[in-house]
Subunit: 172 residues, 3 copies
């Protein structure tokens, strides 16, 4: 976690260019869209091959305890997870809807930006159309930028809301 | 709906200029503000004369079924609706509050951008100050840009949350 | 409140430069982050020494009634409030999570921009991990820009949701 602990870039140090801001904004918008539209295979394309994706309870992060709800340390591992989800679930029983706040540019190292953004994830039951706050929290990400392309090399979902692992079928 | 089905501009193809991004961001901010401030007559000014505004349940969009909750195929028709709402309702019984996520630039054709954004709409009862999630969903929009002005030529509100038509007095 | 009543800059009049947009976006992102991370002393650093911070019920704003829930008319007064909060509360019993919508640039005067943004503030009880909508509303701000630095000289939190003053320990 050392990269995310660097001194805040937003306050002191190098600021992102307009191009980097747009790439990161587009990447978060695509991330949310592809989960919400249930395009999980295309969501995988937003990650580098060596990407690390994990969902961690905020409690564990703040107390320095281990405890990870989901951890995939490569895109292939994330793909396996999506594929097994597809085999088990023929029908999606809820709809996801993410609203993501403005990106916070935390640190910068060579071609990688550490970026955070808050999220609200609402789920709507398809059976009755009722919506509830499923999870709120923070994305702590590393975004690798090559030319005019940006991909996530790391996404840590730090979830404030308590999550029941068995209900965590799709990513957050 | 053909325009919105084009290949994603955010990933391949032409990207919006910084100017287009700012115009679209401002347009969404004004859209939310004017509904939330109950300035519905000024909200109309954000649309082209030939604009199409509709609210559609997500279920119907995904299953290719007809079923539209509200449909106005011109700004005049939308104006009529607002005016009749004003005659019926002397007092507003709730306050709206939209929070809109980052814009996703989907496609581009001449002077028109197809843009999507997720929304959360909370309503607060003025009687007791209680807030609830009234609707979450997606704006699928066409934004017509002329010089330094941007207007909506189409807004399809694709609502995840089930909506009772009689409670749909004001736009979403 | 005269400055915030000026004609909308977003529609007519001067528009913010890309640099101003980025500074304001970063400032809101930092504002949310520092409250949510319980870094309240660093949150103070986002204000000018003469800053005015207040939380006002939307009802009072709309009816032109006085009624302010919290009012600090300088950064020192805000610091006193944070310090006394720290002495009373050894443990934080909830986690805050803000999601802030796109900034709306309302007016401009010399080095100060009047800017608004909608917010959703979710609170999660640390005891059981349950999340609720604690407050939704609007930030009506004045942002003072000097060179490449931006600070809040005024934040009026206009809260739609009814708030119990005794529960208002931390800022919104």
């Amino acid at each position: 976690m050392s990269a995310v602990m660097k001194k805040d870039a937003a306050i002191s140090g190098k600021k992102p260019s307009a191009e980097v801001r747009h790439l990161v904004s587009d990447l978060f918008a695509e991330y949310a869209h592809r989960i919400d539209a249930n395009e999980l295979e295309r969501w995988l394309e937003l990650f580098t091959a060596d990407a690390d994706y994990r969902i961690v309870p905020r409690e564990n992060v703040e107390q320095g305890m281990p405890g990870i709800l989901i951890w995939c340390d490569s895109r292939n591992m994330l793909r396996d997870r999506i594929e097994s989800y597809r085999h088990v679930n023929e029908y999606n029983l809820h709809w996801d809807r993410h609203v993501i706040g403005p990106a916070r540019f935390v640190a910068h190292d060579a071609d990688t930006w550490t970026v955070e953004a808050s999220y609200v994830l609402a789920q709507t039951a398809q059976e009755n159309g009722e919506t509830r706050l499923f999870s709120v929290g923070l994305y702590r990400c590393e975004v690798r930028i090559e030319g005019d392309a940006a991909l996530f090399s790391r996404v840590a979902v730090i979830a404030d809301t308590g999550l029941v692992p068995t209900l965590l079928a799709t990513p957050i």
